[in-house]
């Protein structure tokens, strides 16, 4: 299609946290960037306020590739009143004031979960004009940008620019170079039999053939009317180029490959 193109983002940072349905004292993170997280990031870059519509952004087709899946970090977190007073409960007195908790509770224990040391590639497919505007906005954002939570700033420039591929979104996920960190590159170069490729897990939005669904499409970012709806997704494995050279030494390939004596018998 000539009117659609793909904007490629790299989401890398020491910490990321992509919440979907978490509430109250336990704030969990998804294993990969959510649509609401990415849409929020784009809206912040454009300088949209919470009241402004986000329909054009939610209409973009999102594909996510886990270049470095990361590990989950649990943050044990407490909150209390610095004046030493008990915390307030949700109940309200006749005067309209919040009652103190009974028995008095001084500390709120919360748990927050983060993805540490993760790198994701997010590809957005949609109208070329909008993607071009987003590309510019991500390079000069109006509001500060964060990876799912304000305490998780990105450690690399977010936009990798607009990409073209005949296969659309999936083609871009297949052709974009692996964006993992240096340690992962060194480990892969040392251990893999074919370091020039790597197999990565990816998730693409697919309304027709999607065989799974996730509930992470934001309806609105207005505090009183926040909500999420579902979208159909499809999970796949993509083989991406790593930018590393093919192995020419024999130490690993020769010894750990299978052994098929029939391959030399000429049939």
């Amino acid at each position: 299609m000539s009117t659609t193109s793909v904007l490629v983002l790299q989401l890398a940072g020491p910490l990321q946290s992509w919440g979907t349905g978490s509430e109250f004292n336990r704030r969990e993170t998804a294993q990969e960037p959510t649509k609401s997280g990415v849409v929020g990031l784009l809206a912040a870059a454009l300088g949209r306020h919470r009241q402004e519509p986000i329909d054009d952004l939610t209409a973009l087709r999102l594909g996510v590739r886990a270049d470095q899946p990361g590990t989950v970090l649990r943050d044990y977190h407490t909150a209390s009143d610095h004046r030493g007073r008990p915390l307030l409960s949700a109940q309200v007195s006749k005067k309209g004031e919040q009652k103190p908790t009974t028995p008095a509770k001084y500390t709120q224990v919360t748990q927050r979960f983060y993805l540490q040391d993760a790198v994701f590639l997010a590809a957005l497919q949609g109208p070329a004009a909008l993607l071009k505007q987003l590309d510019g906005a991500l390079r000069a954002p109006v509001f500060p940008l964060a990876l799912g939570r304000r305490s998780c700033p990105p450690s690399r420039p977010l936009s990798l620019g607009l990409a073209e591929s005949p296969d659309g979104l999936e083609g871009v996920l297949r052709s974009t170079t692996w964006q993992a960190g240096k340690t992962a590159h060194v480990t892969h170069a040392r251990k893999a039999a074919h370091p020039e490729h790597i197999d990565l897990m990816a998730t693409v939005e697919d309304p027709e053939h999607g065989n799974d669904s996730v509930c992470d499409v934001p309806l609105s970012f207005v505090q009183e009317r926040r909500g999420l709806t579902e979208r159909r997704i499809r999970r796949l494995t993509v083989t991406a180029p790593t930018g590393l050279e093919a192995r020419t030494d024999s130490s690993r390939t020769g010894l750990h490959a299978g052994h098929d004596p029939f391959a030399l018998l000429g049939w």
Binding site: R190, H197, L255, L264
Partner: protein, 260 residues
């Protein structure tokens, strides 16, 4: 005409477990594939266990084309799809061998040494020593090499006789920062000991216990003397050939093979 066969074995079956338990039983099953009693024929075999729970048997026979129906019926998947066994003519490979070629190889062998006085005598050895007059016995006892370095040295010592050499490891990785290559060190041979095993079994219920120490070598070889290598491929390397040792097989080098 030499034939190479490959038979898949279903390790879930009781009869297959009996075969896999001792090399002696498997030797019997292999011999049963030859209609004429193969007394003057060298039959080499090796059990391949690359894929866990899906072992297969490789058999090389020098003159006779074997029939593996009995093994499929007793220890295979008789009703399943796919090839129950493959029997291939081995001559294309033997004709192709020429000096300077390089192949991937695998060999399961029984590295042994002869020693006059073993560290620890078995009851049989002790009895044999008692029988002979002190000082008259000239022949030593054959005992298995048990350390990896001794087993590997045993293998390297047999390469020349079998008509091939093990080239040095090809490496492109630079030494770690702060380290330099030691110029004086010998380059390592491009082969490794991938599996070591020890089997203990008896042929008869109260017969002597047979102990078999096996080592599997894999790597890259360079053909030096095609005639000697042809002979080694057909005759095997080292002892215990009836018990799945000594079969040297060649395969294409992994670089030639497609990715996957």
């Amino acid at each position: 005409m030499p034939y190479l066969s490959k038979i898949r074995i279903n390790p879930q079956r009781a009869s297959a477990i009996r075969l896999l338990r001792t090399p002696y039983q498997l030797h019997g099953a292999v011999q049963a594939a030859f209609p004429n009693q193969a007394v003057d024929e060298r039959v080499l075999w090796r059990l391949e266990t690359d894929t866990p729970r899906r072992p297969h048997l490789l058999v090389l026979s020098e003159h006779t084309r074997p029939d593996w129906t009995h093994l499929v019926e007793q220890a295979g998947w008789p009703g399943a799809e796919g090839d129950h066994f493959l029997v291939g003519d081995y001559t294309p490979l033997l004709d192709r061998l020429a000096a300077g070629q390089e192949y991937a190889f695998r060999l399961a062998a029984n590295p042994v040494q002869n020693t006059k006085r073993p560290d620890k005598l078995t009851p049989e050895q002790e009895a044999r020593l008692k029988e002979t007059e002190p000082g008259t016995r000239t022949r030593g006892f054959r005992v298995g090499h048990r350390t990896a370095s001794a087993q590997f040295a045993w293998f390297l010592a047999r390469c020349e006789r079998a008509g091939f050499t093990i080239p040095a490891v090809r490496t492109t990785t630079a030494p770690a920062p702060g380290l330099t290559l030691c110029e004086k060190s010998e380059p390592a041979p491009d082969a490794a000991l991938i599996k070591r095993d020890s089997h203990r079994f008896r042929k008869k219920k109260n017969g002597p216990q047979i102990t078999l120490t096996t080592a599997t070598f894999q790597g890259r070889l360079r053909v030096e003397d095609p005639e000697a290598l042809r002979a080694a491929l057909l005759a095997g390397i080292g002892p215990s050939k009836a018990y799945g040792c000594g079969l040297l097989t060649l395969a294409p080098l992994p670089q030639e093979a497609p990715r996957g």
